[in-house]
């Protein structure tokens, strides 16, 4: 049976592609891409799907972001050297006590990795578009700023019930005794942005250019360019929670 097929294949004549309509060529290429994507399975070939996953907003919002400016941060995560200058700048700027943190650098360690065993991963509040904390807060003490999309605190309304801490998939919140309220990263809104500055303290302090801060709705901003491209992988943390973060990770 197979012999028959072999002969048939060998006797096939090349018809050339000149006569094939463009439509059919495109269809064929798509099939190829899908198959490659499915079977490669690894991170490289799923870049396309990762970008879709990483987008802060559903497809239809890609062109019109819900906030203006739509503040966002992109980490070029391979550049981080764990110098912690960002953490120090954050503490000073936002009066963060020693028992808490608004941003932190996680140390990833993988013995089985073939290249470097250690990698640093900075984290902060992801200012989600579908924030679990904001939904859960009984008194709107934490809220999504209607203009900027920053997840902020109205400290005087905070009951300290800690449901936002339990709700946050990113461990971005802690109880601040001095403020008698939950404290968290507000992209330096109170300390800097509201006073006319355009960049957060951590992004300014970073000597390695890890933290890129800007307006995701502005096509000229660096964050826009970093997120809207396919050449390099862009991802968000814990996409499965459907919180739609506005903090992205990429490599330089």
């Amino acid at each position: 049976m197979f012999k028959g097929i072999k002969d048939w294949l060998l006797n096939l004549k090349n018809e050339g592609v000149e006569q094939v309509p463009d439509e059919t060529k495109r269809e064929f290429l798509k099939i190829g891409l899908i198959i490659t994507g499915v079977f490669a399975g690894g991170s490289l070939f799923s870049v396309v799907s990762r970008v879709a996953e990483g987008f802060a907003t559903p497809e239809e919002l890609r062109e019109s972001y819900p906030y203006k400016p739509h503040y966002s941060m992109v980490f070029k995560v391979d550049r981080c050297i764990d110098c912690e200058l960002c953490m120090e700048a954050c503490r000073k700027t936002n009066n963060v006590p020693e028992y808490g943190w608004r941003t932190m650098i996680l140390r990833r360690y993988d013995e089985s990795a073939l290249d470097q065993k250690v990698m640093f991963m900075p984290i902060l509040c992801n200012h989600c578009n579908n924030p679990p904390c904001v939904r859960a807060c009984p008194t709107k003490a934490t809220y999504k700023d209607k203009k900027t999309g920053i997840v902020r605190m109205a400290s005087y309304k905070c009951l300290g019930c800690k449901v936002c801490m339990a709700a946050c998939p990113y461990n971005a919140r802690y109880f601040n005794e001095e403020k008698h309220a939950i404290d968290k990263c507000d992209f330096c809104w109170e300390s800097r942005l509201s006073k006319g500055m355009t960049i957060t303290a951590c992004a300014e302090a970073c000597p390695a250019g890890v933290r890129i801060f800007g307006d995701l709705s502005d096509p000229n901003s660096e964050v826009y360019k970093l997120v809207h491209q396919l050449a390099k992988p862009v991802w968000v943390l814990k996409p499965e929670t459907n919180a739609k973060p506005n903090v992205f990770y990429t490599i330089s």
Partner: protein
Amino acid sequence: MSEKKNLGTSEIEVTTFSQTWLASLSEFLSGTRVFYFLVGLSALVLLITAMFGVNAMYKGYRHAYGIYREIPWGILISGYVNFAVTSTGLCIVSSIGHVFGVKSFIPIAKRSVYLSAVNILAAFTVIFFDVENPFRLPIWNALSPNLTSNIWWMGTLYGAYLFFMTLEFLLLLLGRHRYARVFGLLVLIFGIAAYGNLGAVFGMLYGREFWYGPHMPIYFIVSAAASGCTAIIFYTYLAYKITGEKMEREMELSLQAVGKIWALFLAILMFFTTWKIITDFVGGEGRVLALKEWLTGKYAFNFWLFEVGFGLLIPFFLLLISGFKNLNQMFAASVFAFIGFFFMRFDFVVVGQVVSHYFEFKVTDFPVILSYNPSIYEIMIIIGAVAFCIMAFLVGEKVFKGHKTEIH
């Protein structure tokens, strides 16, 4: 004409009402030595534990409690759930009689409503010591409501629940059963809605795999009904033991009926627990990690001995052995279940948080499984709430003369 008539009726009500309280006071003063000793003892425990609570408030919860940033909810939340569950459960089970008119459930009604109020007060007291700014709660709950928040709904509905329950109890005391029935229905509706929201507080946290899912409110309601039956059997049996009175035939039949539905609720809980575990096994990695910690890790002892043994199997088989007739065995079952259920709620709250947020990235800053140990302050507050329930139960028995109901 009709106005005048109404006026007349309310005047009579007022006199009956004040007479009731006077009678209650004299009743309280006529107690035996043992009664005063027990009330005094529980009051003393309550006082000591209250000092712990106030001290913790003064020190700051970060210093006094075992909770921390990664595990913000500890034994106080479990305790709150436990007392709220008992309150709602008492309300559900007793409503079968005095709301829906099933005769055999009527004798337990008064005591259940009273204990239901006591338990919800205990729950509020425990949560008072967990929330960092409890005094802001009534203000901002009213001025800045977040309608998507389950905690907001729960707080508001439980407020209404307590209000209607107080009215219901007063009406029951005054013997106004028809009105009491209307309020009983309201209490039931508000109680179920509030408690469903408490389930959803956990079930709707989409960042927490172990809790997330639509089954949580349903599970909470079944668990409430089971707790309600436990509490009715436990307290009613004790009430008769303390006074040395012989239990009336109606009450005996009533407890037997409660025992039967209790067995049913226990069976549903077993069914649920089994399927929760089986489902978790095929869930995400975080879910599996939490499950392993629960069944084979630090919480395995709690799970197998207290949850499965004390909470489900032992009471279930004791009930079967008792043939729903032997009240001594049923009481023993309720003691086991009381202990087992507390562990059930403790594990539920804690295990939901033990998996570290960034475990999948192999970070060295946090262990994969976090641990929580309640501090002495937290434990004392729970003991205080238990002491409060016991004291209120004893005083209630005396003041309301054994919560007797005349069956018409």
